[in-house]
């Protein structure tokens, strides 16, 4: 029999599979299937999401036929199956469930669009379908071919070398994303880290997007990022567009009957219409350091070897990020609160694009004026009426601005922030360095004339290229 594992690309759900069954009284049935999952060399699992005729037939007659199409070659395949059992827990169920949950969260259908069971079938035969031939340009199909381990190992080595040359957390995150592109060819990637408050992730680095999405937030359980974080397991989705359309079809009919309301789509970081996504949790000793997501607008971009390599990479990246964060928080010799330094007049920042200042008086050649408003109840900062950042990074920025205004000091240490009770940092795992990095990147993105500039390990300066007016709101 043709080796089932060599049909891996058929199991991505990119092109709908077809399931043929028959009732005990001999009436055939045909249905399209959202997913066929590879289990082992002798078994596959079919997703059971709704009680339907196929499910009823299988419960009384275990014979089934599944037809699949290889998205790489367009070759059709027929798998003759025999139903064995249904699983509602375990690794196969979890793999299938996570993917469905991610799709459901995009369409606001969590709890409705869900996996009831993974139905396990023994594969009795695998045959190519006559008349559904492979494309000529796909080349000869070697069904015994293994993934190109040499390429994958080389890519991992290249990425590893980049990571070792990074000198700070900032550079490390950029090195990882740059390596994703140059070593693996993944042009759209992002890293998210847990927010200070539980149950959220915030984008701390991204590459390949028209606007860098730093600061974009997502809750646990939302989209591929949130589901990866919640489950702490990798997820790969191919043909997302088609699967979303299927979910939307259900939502539309359910809404028409008043069974659910059409919900607002959740704006998540990343491509507007990705068709392939691969997300891995970055875990260090069981702690979620972050989530790495690569995505593409191609329906089937991430192949088996990509998935294996990125999953393997997840743990390594988590260790690298964790180590760098620990290194950055180590106190430097003679670290103390810096002496007050006289506040300088605002210095124009090269490359900063000046937006019209708030109010009048921003004549050419004069420093512009910025209004920075802190909303205490929401722990949120708006600059000139536009959202900048919230939560702990907002509190830190507000503190820095107030110290600068009150004491005239512009240099700070990480240590003094850690000791500041008003910031209420946890005694350990405070992730202060990543919060500062997030703040710095948001400033670069939204108001580059207001800058946080590292001056030494654990030290930084607040540089303002504008006159800043502080406004505290309830």
């Amino acid at each position: 029999m043709i080796r089932l594992e060599t049909l891996a690309s058929c199991f991505q759900g990119l092109i709908p599979a077809t399931l043929f069954t028959c009732s005990r009284d001999g009436i055939p049935n045909v249905a399209f299937l959202s997913h066929v999952e590879y289990v082992d060399p002798r078994h596959v699992a079919l997703s059971f999401q709704f009680f339907n005729k196929s499910k009823a037939n299988i419960s009384e007659n275990p014979h089934a036929l599944v037809r699949l199409i290889d998205p790489d070659t367009s070759q059709g395949w027929a798998l003759r199956l025999r139903y064995v059992r249904s699983e509602t827990a375990g690794p196969v169920f979890e793999r299938m469930d996570l993917r469905i949950e991610a799709i459901a969260s995009y369409s606001g259908l969590k709890g409705i669009f869900k996996l009831l069971a993974a139905d396990i079938y023994e594969v009795q035969s695998v045959e190519p379908v006559e008349g559904e031939w492979a494309r000529g340009d796909a080349g000869p199909i070697d069904r015994t071919r293994r993934p190109d381990a040499v390429f994958t190992m080389q890519a991992l080595q290249d990425l590893s070398a980049r990571i070792h040359t990074a000198g700070c957390l900032d550079g490390l995150l950029d090195s990882i994303l740059e390596g994703m592109e140059t070593s693996f060819g993944f042009t759209h990637a992002m890293i998210l880290m847990p927010t200070a408050d539980d149950g959220g992730l915030v984008t701390i680095a991204s590459r390949g997007y028209p606007e860098n999405g730093v600061g974009a937030e997502v809750r646990f359980g939302e989209g591929i990022c949130g589901v990866v974080a919640e489950a702490r397991k990798p997820i790969r989705i191919s043909g997302l567009l088609r699967q979303m359309l299927y979910a939307f079809a259900i939502e539309k009919r359910a809404a028409e009957q008043g069974l659910c309301s059409l919900v607002r789509r959740i704006a998540l970081p990343g491509l507007a219409a990705p068709d392939s996504q691969l997300g891995v949790p970055l875990l260090y000793r069981g702690e979620l350091i972050g989530v790495l997501v690569v995505e593409s607008d191609q329906p089937y971009r991430f192949h088996e070897e990509d998935k294996t390599a990125i999953e393997l990479l997840g743990s390594y990246l988590a260790i690298a990020i964790h180590s760098m964060a620990m290194q950055e928080r180590e106190p430097v010799a003679a670290e103390a609160t810096p002496a007050p330094v006289a506040v300088q007049a605002p210095v124009p920042v090269p490359g900063a694009v000046a937006k019209p200042a708030v109010g009048a008086g921003a004549a050419a050649g004069e420093p512009r004026r910025r209004e920075v408003a802190y909303y205490a109840a929401d722990e949120c900062i708006l600059v000139d009426g536009e959202y900048l950042i919230r939560s702990l990074p907002a509190k830190i920025f507000w503190k820095l601005l107030n110290v600068r205004q009150g004491e005239g000091r512009i240099e700070f240490t990480n240590r003094e922030l850690r000791l500041d009770k008003s910031l209420n940092l946890p005694e350990w795992k405070d992730n202060l360095e990543s919060r500062l990095l997030l703040l710095r990147r948001r400033l670069e993105q939204k108001c580059p004339d207001l800058r946080i500039v590292p001056t030494a390990r654990g030290r930084f300066a607040l540089q303002l290229g504008s006159d800043v007016v502080l406004v505290q709101k309830p």
Partner: protein, 173 residues
Amino acid sequence: MPPGIVPGFRASGMVGQWRQTMIDGELAAFLEEGISIQLGTRNARLEPNGVRVVAVAVEADGRHLVAYVPEIAVSHVLPDLEANGHAAMVFARPPDERACQVKGTFTGARPAAAGEREAIEAQWGRWLDRLKSIGIERLALELWDVWPCVAIRLQVTAIFNQTPGPNAGARLA
């Protein structure tokens, strides 16, 4: 029935029991639109078999339809149909996922006529164009066999809604 597609089946002795129209004009237009179609059968051991259908034609009485199956694959289903007559066809249209299941009994089969080829290939071509809406390029399936075809005629016995959602499985006719 689209122009160019002509009847001409050998009798199977199973025709003529139904008088009620099963497929109205709107549904016929949907079925012939150029969408995904599969035909399922079963053998004496109740093992299912199935093939891809490249085009269909609904007859004017709304009670019969003709499924065009590539000749190269028809041996997977024709022996079953000739032995027990039971057939099921699923029709699905991306991107709105409208779908239905047609149950029927076999009334005959014949080689598709040369005069039918243009209409069959046009319907298949519309399906390939539609695939783009789910991210599959037309080129991907252009090497698949479409012609020559065998025309399989079914008498429709039931139609079920198969559009995903709460009404999936409801009988339409």
